[in-house]
Amino acid sequence: MTNEIKKNGKIIDELVTYFLKKGHHQLRMDVNYSDAQTIITIWLDHVAAEELALIRECLTQGRDFAMEEYGWELMGESEVSAELNLVGMCIDEVEIDHVDENIIAIKLIRQHI
């Protein structure tokens, strides 16, 4: 695949924009980039059950190479709109875990195919 670094940058941009807009003004993120894959982990405080369901719905859609090719440049571009659909289509695996009562960890794995 081409533009891997750029695509990862866009995914991070969209994620950060989305969560800041949703009121998560304190979030931590870890990015692990290698030749084979990128792993992005985000820790969030106080995510409501309904919001978590929406996040899960968007991020577990499964990777779609055609859609990724078509729309990856859109991620992080809008000041107004931030949705996780496209991020979900650029991701191979998602793990969402409760670290403790208040904090959830979202781990996104993207293979560099």
């Binding site: 055609a66 859609m67 440049e73 859109l74 571009e77 809008s78 000041e79 107004v80 709109s81 659909n85």
Partner: protein, 374 residues
């Protein structure tokens, strides 16, 4: 045969050219070819693919035929080979790219040589469109659902200018069915399709109003795939509802239904799997109706196409609200009157071309306002 070798420029209703039977055969042939390509490339179904399939089906009523779409598929296939990626990644782009199928018959007055030159131009267009489309999408930031229409329009604009400078003038055509007996058959087809979609959707899944409200709460900005997010039951219901709305709007306008209006409604039903819903299309249609009333515009088949295809701006209304949606409809209605002429009718997605400018302008203004308030 008359259908295949017609000029195909916007708006050439194949029902007016060759009759309803030949048109329906063309629709079947185009769909068999498209579904065959989809199958051999193992393309999975999603909202984007459904939008592409129904758009292909819709435009097979007025402008796409089994002959003029082939060179564009070949061009996109050659592009995929050149970048060493599977064609399946570009299949949907190829489906939409056939909106410039009239390029193939651009030199039809010059006989076989003209057709060969037109085909070569179409192959070249297919080869460059994936790269242009991925770049152009940033202009409107996904607030227009017809990105290939906008990208293709830019290519058509340049090509038309070159051809006009060299002395070959391209004209916009308006040749549509005016028979009322055909109107009733087409009305039955549209109502039947819409009700089928709703019925299948309800069979797949019991209707849940709160889930449908959630669907309508999404802006529809690219990429919003209702099939993936909400499943095929609710998506089919949404497609059917939008189809019914538009059919009733157009059927009682006093103008007989024709291949172009039927095809455009089918296409919009397809995009109701990929961003459109009643909430984000109504303000745009109201904006157009307002402009029709204020300007005293006479309702014609071309005006009805604008009413239907203004819905390509659905993400504008979905994201920025009802009033901005009405303004977008007003602006679109005004601009689209001129853009078909700019492209010499070579781009079947004239509303997509005009909509790109409106989406780009409105979204950049709204983004700028949002930046200041952040």
């Amino acid at each position: 045969m008359q259908l295949v070798i017609s000029r195909d420029a916007l708006v050439t209703d194949y029902i007016a050219v060759s009759g309803l039977s030949a048109t329906l055969i063309n629709v079947v042939l185009v769909m068999v070819f498209t579904l065959f390509i989809k199958r051999i490339n193992h393309v999975e179904l999603n909202g984007f693919v459904i939008a592409g399939l129904l758009t292909t089906m819709g435009f097979a009523f007025f402008g796409k035929n089994i002959y003029n779409i082939l060179p564009i598929y070949l061009g996109v296939f050659l592009y995929a080979r050149s970048v060493k990626r599977p064609f399946k990644q570009f299949f949907v782009i190829a489906m939409f790219a056939t909106g410039l199928a009239p390029l193939v018959t651009v030199g039809i007055n010059f006989g076989i040589l003209g057709l060969i030159i037109g085909s070569v131009i179409a192959v070249g267009y297919g080869f460059i469109i994936p790269a242009i489309a991925s770049h152009v999408i940033r202009f409107h930031n996904g607030y227009l659902l017809y990105n290939i229409g906008f990208s293709g329009g830019i290519v058509a604009l340049i090509l038309t200018a070159v051809l006009r400078v060299t002395g070959l003038d391209l004209e916009v055509v308006v040749n549509v069915n005016e028979a009322w007996d055909i109107h009733y058959i087409l009305f039955a087809i549209l109502i039947g399709m819409s009700l089928l979609f709703i019925s299948f959707g309800l069979l797949r899944e019991r209707f849940n109003w709160s889930r449908y409200k959630k669907l309508m709460s999404m802006s529809g900005r690219a990429v919003t795939d209702y099939y993936r997010i909400f499943g095929e039951g609710l998506m089919l219901v949404n497609m059917g509802i939008v189809g019914l709305m538009l059919t009733l709007l157009v059927a009682f306008s006093g103008i007989p239904l024709n291949g172009a209006t039927v095809g455009s409604i089918i296409s919009v039903m397809g995009f109701s799997a990929f961003g459109k819903n009643p909430k984000n299309i109504i303000p745009l249609i109201l904006g157009c109706i307002l402009m029709i009333i204020v300007s005293g515009t006479v309702i014609t088949p071309s005006v009805l196409l604008v009413l239907i295809f203004v819905t390509g701006l659905a993400p504008i209304a979905g994201e920025f609200g009802f009033v901005i949606g009405i303004i977008a409809g007003i602006l679109h209605f005004s601009l689209v009157q001129y853009t078909a002429e700019w492209q010499g009718g070579a781009n079947l997605y004239n509303n997509g071309f005009a909509g790109g400018f409106i989406a780009g302008v409105i979204s950049s203004i709204m983004d700028s306002i949002a930046k200041r308030s952040m």
